[in-house]
C-alpha cells in the first residue's frame, strides 16, 4: 500500500468544519451525514484507482 501523500491546503480548517457539521446531531443523523459526505467526496475524487487506495488506506489504519 502506497502512502497517501499530504495534500490538504488547510487541514485544521477542514477538521474544524467537519466537527462543526456534526454539532448537535444524534448518532443516527451523524452517521447519515458521514455516509453522505463520503459519497460526495468519492464523486469528487472520481478516479477508480484513487478511490480503491483510499478505502485500502482507511482499512489499514484501522488495523494498527
Amino acid at each position: 500500500m502506497q502512502d497517501i501523500t499530504p495534500s490538504f491546503e488547510d487541514a485544521d480548517g477542514f477538521y474544524e468544519q467537519l466537527l462543526d457539521a456534526h454539532k448537535g446531531l444524534d448518532e443516527g443523523a451523524s452517521a447519515l451525514l458521514n455516509a453522505t459526505l463520503i459519497l460526495v467526496m468519492a464523486n469528487h475524487i472520481g478516479d477508480a484507482r484513487a478511490l480503491r487506495d483510499c478505502i485500502q488506506a482507511a482499512k489499514e489504519a484501522r488495523q494498527l
Binding site: A31, L32, A35, T36, I38, L39, V40, N43
Partner: protein, 568 residues
C-alpha cells in the same frame, strides 16, 4: 440484526392464483423410437427444455438446416398456470429474433418503451429517456420491447415448425442421461411409453431446477438470497402511463420496492418487494393483492388480476458450461436475480453463441475445439451478469445497518445532485456482453469481441438491407467484409478465401459503381464501416460478434480467420 428462516427458493408456482392466460397446446406425436423406425446413428443435437433459451437454440439450428430433436416435458409454452415470466427483451435479443424471423410478430404484439422513472417515497429521484441515448440508434431494433415471454416462445414454436429440421417432441420428459466419448444417451418418458435416444450433443435448457447438473456431476458457486417479491400481472380498465416506474421505497408498500411496467394486451406487471419473512401463500392471496393495488392506484381503479404469484431468487454460476458432450444454456448455466432483465436475455445470447458453433462443427467447417469457446465466452458473460445483478440486489435489499445507511445517503443526495443518481441501482439493463479473453477472437482493436449492431446498408441494386440479412445469407460461414477497393494482388488473396467453405467474402463500398467483387454491398453512410472499427477488413461471426479486424490481405488475415474457427 433480525434473523429469518431460509426462504424456499421458488420460481415454481404452487401458490399462484388469478385468471391466467390462455396458452396454445401442442400435440404429442409418438416418436419413431416407439414404432421401431428410429435412425440407427445418433441425432446430431438433442435440446432438452422448450423455454425461451431452448426454443431460440432450436430455431437457430432449424434456420441453419441442422437436424435436431427438442424434448419438452409439457405440451405448451410458459409454465402451466404460471405463464407469466420474463417480460423485457433487449435490443440484442430483438436482433437475434429478427435474424430468426420472429421480430415482426414481437414488435406488433409487444410494447416499446423509452421512459423510465425512479421514485423514493413521494419524490421522483430521476428519470431517463432511452430515445436520447446514442448507443441504441445504430440498430434497426429498438432499445427494449416488453412482451410476455410465452408469446415469443409461441412464435418460435411456429417458426420452427415452418423451417423444419427440428423435431419438437412435447410431453417428453428426460429421466436419465449417460454418456460415452462418442455420444450421449437419454431416457425419455412419454404418454405412449418410454424410450432411449442418442445424440452427438445434448443441450440442457431445462431451467434452474435441472436434473442434468447431478447427472453430469457439475459443480457451481451459489449464493442464497432472502429477498422476496410478489408478482402481479394486472389488466387495467384505464391504463397508467406507458412508462417504466420503479420505487426504491414505495409508501404504498411499507416503504419497500415496487416495479411497474407494461406488457402486451394492456397487462401491467407489478412487482412488490415483501418482507424477507413474508408468507408466500398470504402475500399472493387475491384479497391481499387487491388491498395493495388499492393503496397504489386508488380504491376506485378497475382492473382484472391476470396472474399473481410469489417470487424469490438465488444467484448461481456453474463452474463449467459443458460436461463432456452436454452443454448448459440459459438458467442451467447461471441463475441471476431479475433486475436488469439479465436472465432470459442472456439465455437467448447463450443460444445464439452455441447454435452456429454446433452447426459449423456438425457441418465439418470447424473442429470440435470451436465448441470449447462456448464456455470461454459465455462463462465470462455469466460471471459478469451474476456480479452486476448481485450489486443491484445489495442495493435493493441492503443489510440492516451500514448498507441501509449508505442507501439512505444515495437517495438523499440523488434528489438534489445528478451525480448521485449513478449510485441509485434499480437494475443495470442487460447488454450484449463483450468477450474480453476468448480463444477465438484476435484482439487487435477495442471492438473485437463485441457484438456488431444490426446496422443498415444497401444491396448492390440499391435495395435496403441490414446486417442480419447478410448473416442469414452467410449462415454458418464467418463473414469477411472487405472495405473499399482492392488491388490485383489483394484480389488473388481474397479469391482464395472465397473458395473456402467456412467463409463468405463481401466487398463493402460507398457507392455501387465502386464495387469490384461478385459479392458486394453499399455502405453510403459509412455506418457499417464504423461499426466494424474503420478497418480494411472485418471478420463477423454468424452471431454478429466481431472476431478480428485487419489492415491488409496478408497472412494475419488467414491466421485470424483460422483462430476464429478454432483451427489452430
Amino acid at each position: 440484526m433480525t434473523a429469518y428462516t431460509d426462504p424456499v427458493f421458488t420460481n415454481g408456482y404452487e401458490f399462484t392464483t388469478g385468471a391466467g392466460y390462455a396458452l396454445p397446446t401442442y400435440p404429442f406425436v409418438p416418436p419413431p423410437e416407439l414404432s421401431g423406425t428410429a435412425p440407427e446413428s445418433p441425432y446430431p443435437v438433442v435440446i432438452v427444455g422448450g423455454g425461451i433459451t431452448g426454443l431460440t437454440l432450436a430455431c437457430s439450428l432449424a434456420q441453419l438446416g441442422i437436424a435436431a430433436v427438442l424434448l419438452d416435458e409439457d405440451n405448451t409454452v410458459g409454465v402451466k398456470g404460471a405463464s407469466s415470466r420474463g417480460i423485457c427483451y433487449t435490443q440484442r435479443s430483438l436482433e437475434i429474433f429478427d435474424k430468426l424471423g420472429v421480430f415482426d410478430r414481437i414488435q406488433a404484439k409487444g410494447v416499446a418503451w423509452h421512459m423510465g422513472r425512479t421514485f423514493a417515497g413521494e419524490h421522483e429521484v430521476y428519470h431517463f429517456n432511452l430515445r436520447e441515448r446514442d448507443d441504441f440508434k445504430l440498430s434497426k431494433q429498438p432499445a427494449f420491447i416488453n412482451i410476455q415471454q410465452f408469446y415469443i416462445e409461441g412464435y418460435l414454436v411456429e417458426r420452427i415448425a415452418d423451417l423444419g429440421h427440428v423435431d419438437m417432441r412435447w410431453q417428453s420428459r428426460v429421466t436419465a442421461c449417460t454418456q460415452s466419448p462418442e455420444a450421449v444417451t437419454l431416457s425419455v418418458t412419454t404418454p405412449a411409453g418410454d424410450y432411449t435416444l442418442s445424440a452427438q450433443y445434448v443441450i440442457d435448457a431445462t431451467g434452474s431446477n435441472t436434473p442434468f447438473h447431478a447427472w453430469c456431476q457439475s459443480t457451481m458457486t451459489s449464493i442464497k438470497r432472502d429477498d422476496r417479491w410478489c408478482i402481479a400481472d394486472v389488466r387495467f380498465k384505464t391504463s397508467p402511463p406507458a412508462e417504466r416506474h420503479t420505487w426504491i421505497e414505495a409508501p404504498f408498500n411499507e416503504n419497500r420496492a415496487v416495479w411497474q411496467h407494461l406488457m402486451a394486451d394492456d397487462v401491467w406487471r407489478i412487482d412488490y418487494q415483501m418482507a424477507p419473512d413474508a408468507d408466500p401463500a398470504y402475500v399472493s392471496r387475491e384479497d391481499v393483492l387487491r388491498e395493495r393495488l388499492a393503496r397504489q392506484f386508488g380504491p376506485d381503479t378497475e382492473y382484472d388480476i391476470v396472474w399473481v404469484g410469489p417470487y424469490s431468487y438465488k444467484s448461481q454460476l456453474l463452474d463449467h458450461l459443458s460436461a463432456g458432450r452436454v452443454y448448459f444454456v440459459g438458467d442451467t448455466a447461471k441463475v441471476v436475480s431479475p433486475f436488469g432483465a439479465r436472465g432470459g436475455n442472456t439465455g437467448i445470447s447463450d443460444a445464439d453463441n452455441l447454435a452456429w458453433k454446433l452447426a459449423a462443427v456438425i457441418g465439418q467447417q470447424a473442429p470440435e475445439a470451436l465448441l470449447d469457446s462456448y464456455h470461454a465466452e459465455r462463462h465470462e458473460a455469466a460471471s459478469v451478469n451474476v456480479a452486476v445483478t448481485a450489486r443491484t440486489t445489495r442495493y435493493l435489499r441492503p443489510a440492516d445497518g451500514t448498507e441501509r445507511l449508505f442507501r439512505d445517503a444515495t437517495i438523499a443526495l440523488a434528489k438534489r445532485y445528478s451525480f448521485a443518481r449513478t449510485l441509485v441501482n434499480t437494475g443495470r439493463m442487460a447488454e450484449a456482453n463483450p468477450y474480453t479473453r476468448s480463444p477465438v477472437c484476435s484482439y487487435a482493436h477495442p471492438l473485437v469481441g463485441r457484438s456488431v449492431q444490426n446496422v443498415a446498408f444497401q444491396w448492390a441494386n440499391g435495395d435496403d438491407a441490414q446486417l442480419n440479412d447478410l448473416l442469414r445469407w452467410s449462415a454458418t460461414r464467418v463473414l469477411l467484409l472487405w472495405f473499399g477497393g482492392f488491388s490485383r494482388r489483394e484480389a488473388d488473396k481474397l479469391q482464395a478465401l472465397t473458395n473456402m467453405a467456412s467463409v463468405s467474402v463481401v466487398q463493402v463500398c460507398a457507392t455501387s459503381a465502386a464495387l469490384q467483387a461478385r459479392e458486394g454491398i453499399v455502405d453510403p453512410t459509412g455506418q457499417l464501416a464504423a461499426a466494424c472499427g474503420q478497418q480494411r477488413w472485418a471478420l463477423i461471426r454468424p452471431d454478429s460478434y466481431l472476431a478480428a479486424v485487419g489492415a491488409q490481405a496478408d497472412t494475419a488475415l488467414l491466421n485470424r480467420l483460422a483462430v476464429s474457427l478454432a483451427i489452430a
